[in-house]
């Protein structure tokens, strides 16, 4: 099965074609087709996971074909420890999000077609090792996102959609220029990331820094890193539930993935010199800033959105630590945040579907009416707080334990945010689920089977990775340690680190 | 060239005519007037060609060019007048600024 990656990337496209081919009369089954496509994708992902060799840093399941030889553009796919976990996450989240979409009733065909296209785009980004291919997938994904937010979104959907599109396009054009720079001024003209990485030393320091920053901005917008984060709350608030799930669950990870895949691997020297500022400091700002903004939100979903910003900060901080623990923690955090935040957004969607508003102040005592829902939310909230025994705990601890060795001060803030996080999550929980029951919501149904079906698998994963993180760490460790070594082998920053 | 007439005099003349043509084109409100301005410009060019052809060592290129210019000028005028006529038939004016339904 040496076309596994092509398959896993284009299965959704196949699904999309089928969905589009369906006559309008049979539009009810397109959700099932989408489900089937993502299910197959998930199965392949699991197969990849099982047959992935964790001992080597080499590219696995590689596929390479000429595409545009005159310009050294190839169709090059492959995974290593960094991407395999993301492939798994993408497949999982997309599968879940299809079921989270069942409440969509308007223009289903278009919806599921776009959803599958989005799926393919994201998967493609994680498996492609040719920079050009990577860029194509990177951009292709913007379009379905635009429509999914713009057509099925909330009242201010048009604003949110175009904001997302413009913002991310601005980022990606910078990536495009950086890519061309790497192509022309490298040791050899190529888009093959592995080759580019092996020729890293060829670039001059100044060049590296300029390109690094261009790339960073491009990726930072996706993360989203302060101060490029303002598109996220809008996008989340307007997007339909399933799209928020994908957005927070997978899309944000592409930013940090890109930083590891491109900035770290191809420009190690610049990384070594700039990371403390761009990843460390900004990451720390993300952590604290996100948490504090979340505290002040009155919209349930916006609050969760800001918590995402805060949690992604840990990923950046972990990357900046240049320690095995920190960088492993960072990628693990990418995975864990994916699952946890997916739960959170699904849970927000549950109540929004019933109450059609998200004003935290408007709720109260829901636990009496919807105990199961309240319980599940409690679980997700504590997972979000990084409660020991749950997945996020491991990753945050690894990030901080690693970061402490290089950036103690930042770590102090990062660790302190655990308090703030507990603060806003518990307060929110209290205001929505506890206290006297708001009779307005009498008669609301508890979690439906479908909703439970979307949540329970994620919950189980959260628990398993809490007690057996090795399930994912095992994949990452080899590749990440290797990458970290490469970066550390370059001359470090001239600036004194913030000790 | 001593006191006699030389290339530069022709060039100067053509420059003057060119400028006159430009001015005419820019100030006239009337389509015919503007077309006349264009004619001036073309002829200033013609003077150049002839002068260069005469003083430069080149063959008859310049003269040929000039003849073609004259011819094309006529063709252009024809079309121009046709259009002007059509406009006049339609809206009874040839003041170009009056013909302003465009630019939305």
């Amino acid at each position: 099965m040496n076309h596994a990656l092509t398959l896993i990337t284009f299965i959704p496209i196949a699904g999309m074609v089928v969905v589009l081919a369906l006559p309008q009369a049979m539009k009810d089954i397109c959700k099932w087709i989408a489900a089937a496509a993502t299910a197959v994708q998930l199965l392949i992902a699991i197969w990849l996971y099982r047959s992935f060799d964790t001992a080597t840093t080499a590219i696995q399941f590689a596929e390479k074909h000429d595409w545009i030889p005159s310009y050294h553009i190839t169709y090059f796919m492959g995974v290593d420890g960094i991407s395999i976990s993301m492939v798994l996450l993408t497949a999982l989240i997309c599968f879940i999000s299809v079921f989270a979409s069942f409440s969509i009733t308007r223009a289903e065909k278009a919806y599921y077609a776009l959803l599958l296209m989005l799926d393919a785009g994201m998967m493609g980004v994680f498996v492609s090792l040719d920079f050009f291919l990577f860029y194509i997938f990177w951009e292709v994904m913007l379009l379905p996102m635009y429509f999914l937010i713009g057509i099925w979104g909330g009242p201010r959907r048009e604003y949110a959609a175009i904001k997302f599109f413009l913002y991310t396009l601005l980022g990606s054009v910078l990536i495009l220029l950086a890519m061309l720079g790497l192509y022309y001024y490298g040791a050899q003209s190529t888009f093959d990331m592995t080759v580019l990485a092996s020729n890293a030393s060829h670039y001059s320091t100044t060049f590296q820094r300029i390109v690094w920053i261009a790339l960073f901005i491009g990726f930072a917008i996706k993360i989203p890193a302060f101060p490029f984060h303002t598109w996220l709350p809008d996008a989340h608030v307007e997007a339909p539930t399933a799209i928020s799930v994908i957005l927070a669950g997978v899309l944000l990870k592409m930013g940090t993935y890109g930083i590891l895949r491109v900035n770290f691997a191809i420009l190690p020297e610049a990384t070594h010199q700039l990371a403390w500022l761009f990843l460390g400091v900004i990451g720390t700002i993300n952590i604290v800033y996100g948490a504090m903004c979340a505290m002040a939100q009155t919209d349930y979903k916006k609050l969760i959105a800001y918590s995402s910003i805060s949690h992604m900060g840990y990923v950046m901080l972990g990357c900046a630590s240049f320690t095995a623990a920190g960088i492993n923690g960072a990628v693990l955090q990418m995975f864990n945040h994916g699952t946890v935040t997916a739960m959170l957004f699904i849970l927000v969607g549950v109540i929004y579907d019933r109450a059609h508003h998200r004003e935290i102040a408007g709720f109260g005592g829901l636990a009496q009416q919807m105990p199961l829902y309240a319980g599940m939310t409690g679980f997700a909230f504590f997972a979000g707080m990084g409660l020991p025994g749950m997945s996020a705990f491991i990753s945050e601890v690894l990030v901080l334990i690693g970061a402490w060795q290089t950036h103690p001060l930042m770590t102090v803030f990062g660790a302190a945010t655990a308090i703030l996080t507990a603060g806003y999550l518990l307060w929110t929980y209290q205001r929505i689920y506890l206290g006297p029951f708001n009779e307005k919501y009498a008669g609301y149904a508890d979690l439906t089977f479908r909703e439970a079906f979307t949540l329970v698998p994620l919950a189980i994963i959260v628990l398993i990775l809490g007690v057996y993180p090795h399930a994912v760490l095992g994949l990452l460790n080899t590749s990440l340690v290797h990458l970290n070594q490469i970066v550390l082998s370059t001359p470090g920053p001239a600036v004194a680190l913030l000790h | 060239m001593g006191g006699g007439i030389g290339l530069n005099h022709f060039l100067l003349l053509s420059l003057i005519i060119f400028s006159l043509g430009m001015v005419c084109v820019l100030t006239r409100r009337n389509a015919i007037g503007i077309l006349m301005g264009v004619e001036l410009i073309l002829n200033s060019a013609n003077i150049n060609y002839l002068a260069f052809a005469h003083y430069g060592g080149a063959k008859y290129d310049g003269q040929v060019f000039a003849i073609f210019v004259i011819m094309l000028a006529a063709a252009e005028a024809v079309i121009g007048l046709a259009v002007v006529l059509a406009i006049y038939q339609n809206f009874k004016t040839i003041d170009v600024d009056a013909t302003e339904t465009l630019s939305g």
Partner: protein, 686 residues
């Protein structure tokens, strides 16, 4: 200690409660509906009792071993293995954790049984037992975890359960607020604690042994001696100080004790189990567990001792003025924890753990007693509405009295054995100040405890008629538990007699191997060893106890002295302060909570209006540019035309147009462009 005996029993002890919790959470409501609350009680209590039985068997097995071999390890699976951080999910059973396990499962089991009676009328009975089981599990993980991260799992796990059980009656907002407070304040402590772990891990890494496994830390800790840390302290001092800071959160010491009194919002069995007997002692356990580390940091030790002593006295004083029967016990708990910290602080680890155990006995007894009182009073907690209950509920009275005597340190009750030891050790190790604090504290303790006894059980009944009519002795499930605990409060201390009476200290000897590290030995050996002196100080302590009792007796039993006279002293100001717990909560609210919330709101505003504004500004600028380019065409280009065409035409609305229709306009445009180009060119070459 380097070659622990491998066992498998620990996992069962730990997992049994987890199984109980799982059953209760997943199937609890169904079980309760179909088989009634019995099923829940059966599962809930069964697992803990079973765990206790296993623990006891293990205990005797351990006794059978040679003291130096009493280190058992139950290794389950590799947990984390990244960047030198190799952690197992493994349980470490040594004398110290053995003692804790016995307390947790034993006292815990009793309280579970008690709860079957106390919570009998609650509709979410299953949820209660689910959380109680889960707590037991978490607590066991805390004490048995063989590495500090696993310990931290339990550490926060018990925090979670505490949060959930404090807010168990979540329909009342205040309860949930108390729960949040507990969790968040604990998180503050945890913040310090995790940073301590980070630094410790890094420090050990720097000496070539990156590890957080307790026994390995014990092995390599000496290498850290003299290593510089942060903020001008040595590494060990830094680490231990932060760890203690963590402990102040979990074990309710100054300055983080504020959550514990509020935690009384939870059901009484919870207060007994979590907020008296077990969870709050985690801090002391942690210090004792890491004694080899603390002993290396005299500075930290002093801090621990002083904070302990201060808390002991401070909380006791607050206890005086409380009228809520549980609040008094809460502050007394804080105070008693202070004693324990003082003990470990001065280096008397064994004494600290010993008091931990006895305290578990009598404080559990006291809480459950008060629970039974509240039960009888129909939820009434204000002592001013009680009185003369001793006739109506004799068992409760007797047991409560026994426990009171114990906590007061009346020989030969359990409390005497441990507390007297602590006070003496404080002096013996030269911490005179601490000694003084503890001594006064002891007197006050007696006072507020007897005040409570008298207000509750003596005098005449001050409640309403239906309350009086409703008064009754608690059901057997509760009564028996009280009896057992009462008995323990009486005899529980006999495992260590003060040296000046007899050298009989099996408890201390049992713990000996845990405190075997060089520095610890040194710290423990230090100080005076004079039985006569100890006896003398014992007498001093006892007189203080008697004084405290007399004061209470005069004021609240004989009522020959009116407490008002004291409360009105200094114009009642002092009383006001004490009554309002020195306004510490208000201070925190004013100094921390409000500013934080305000700054959050400010930040959110900035984010929505300024940061996002910048983005929109960029967009706005683009549009402005478009508009300007419009102006260029409309005014510059077209403007000239109009200047020329004023004579002939109305200039009309053409100014507004982006793209004028004027031909001349275009031509002017070209001309202008050409001119500009030529000018630029000229400049370039000038």
């Amino acid at each position: 200690m380097d070659h622990p005996v491998s066992i498998t029993v620990a996992r069962y002890i730990v997992l049994l409660p987890l199984i109980g919790a799982t059953i209760n959470f997943l199937a609890g409501s169904w079980l309760q509906k179909t088989f009634g609350k019995r099923a829940i009680s059966f599962v809930g209590c069964g697992v803990v009792v079973l765990a206790f039985i296993l623990a006891v068997r293990t205990f005797f097995a351990m006794l059978a071993m040679a003291p130096e071999n009493r280190f058992l390890l139950d290794d389950l699976w590799r947990w984390i293995d990244v960047g030198g951080l190799n952690l197992e999910v493994a349980f470490w059973l040594d004398p110290l954790s053995m003692v804790m396990t016995l307390i947790i499962t034993g006292i815990g089991g009793l309280i579970h049984i008690y709860s079957t009676g106390y919570m009998h009328d609650d509709e979410s009975y299953w949820r209660f037992f689910g959380w109680l089981n889960l707590f037991t599990f978490a607590m066991l993980v805390l004490v048995l975890g063989d590495n500090l991260w696993l310990m931290f799992v339990g550490w926060e796990g018990v925090g979670l359960c505490s949060f959930a059980l404090i807010g168990f009656w979540y329909k009342v907002l205040a309860n949930t607020t108390a729960g949040n407070k507990a969790f968040i304040v604990n998180r503050v402590g945890d913040w310090a604690f995790v940073i301590a772990l980070y630094s410790l891990f890094m420090a050990l890494g720097n000496v070539g042994h990156p590890t957080l496994v307790t026994r390995e830390i014990a092995k390599y800790a000496p290498l850290l001696a003299g290593m510089p840390g942060y903020l001008g302290m040595t590494m060990v001092t830094f680490v231990t100080l932060l760890m203690f800071a963590g402990a102040t959160g979990k074990s309710a010491q100054i300055p983080l004790y504020v959550w514990l009194p509020d935690a009384m919002a939870g059901p009484t069995p919870v207060s007994a189990l979590i907020h008296a007997a077990t969870m709050v002692t985690a801090g002391i356990y942690m210090v004792a567990r890491l004694n080899f580390l603390f002993s290396m940091a005299p500075a930290t030790m002093t801090v621990v001792a002083v904070v302990g002593g201060l808390t002991a006295l401070f909380a006791a004083t607050v206890g005086i003025a409380q009228n809520d029967i549980k609040k008094v016990l809460a502050y007394s708990t804080v105070s008693q924890l202070g004693y324990m910290f003082a003990a470990v602080g001065v280096g008397a680890y064994a004494a600290g753990v010993f008091h931990l155990m006895t305290h578990a006995f009598f404080k559990a007894c006291l809480f459950l007693g008060s629970g039974s009182v509240i039960h009888a009073m129909g939820g009434e907690q204000d002592m001013r509405k009680m009185g003369a209950l001793r006739h109506k509920m004799p068992i409760t009275f007797i047991t409560f009295l026994a426990a009171t005597l114990a906590i007061s340190g009346v020989p030969p009750f359990a409390g005497f054995m441990s507390k007297d030891e602590i006070i003496w050790q404080a002096f013996a190790h030269g911490h005179t100040v601490v000694w003084a604090l503890l001594l006064i504290g002891a007197a006050i303790t007696v006072f507020y405890m007897f005040r409570q006894v008298y207000m509750t059980f003596f005098g005449e009944f001050r409640g309403t008629h239906e309350q009086e009519h409703h008064l009754h002795e608690s059901p057997p499930s509760m009564a028996y538990v009280l009896i057992v605990l009462g008995a323990l409060s009486v005899v529980g201390g006999l495992v260590k007699i003060p040296d000046f009476i007899a050298t009989y200290k099996p408890f201390e000897e049992f713990l000996e191997p845990v405190f075997a590290s060089g520095p610890t030995r040194a710290v423990m050996e230090a100080g005076i060893h004079s039985h006569s002196l100890e006896a003398a100080f014992g007498f001093v302590t006892f007189t203080m106890v008697v004084l405290g009792w007399l004061a209470a007796d005069f004021m609240y039993r004989q009522q020959t002295v009116d407490p008002e006279r004291f409360s009105q002293a200094f114009g009642g100001v002092v009383y006001e302060w004490v009554l309002n717990k020195y306004y510490v909560d208000e201070l925190y609210d004013f100094a921390v909570v409000r500013p934080y919330q305000a700054s959050c709101r400010a930040l959110a505003w900035i984010d929505a209006n300024i940061i996002d504004g910048i983005v929109n500004l960029a967009a706005a600028l683009t549009v402005l540019g478009a508009w300007l380019s419009g102006l260029f065409d409309a005014y510059i280009v077209d403007g000239l035309v109009n200047a020329a065409s004023l004579v002939t035409l109305d200039v009309g609305g053409r100014l507004r147009r982006l793209q004028t229709g004027s031909i001349n306009g275009y031509l002017y445009g070209i001309l202008a462009a050409v001119m500009v180009i030529l000018l630029v060119r000229a400049m370039l070459h000038a």
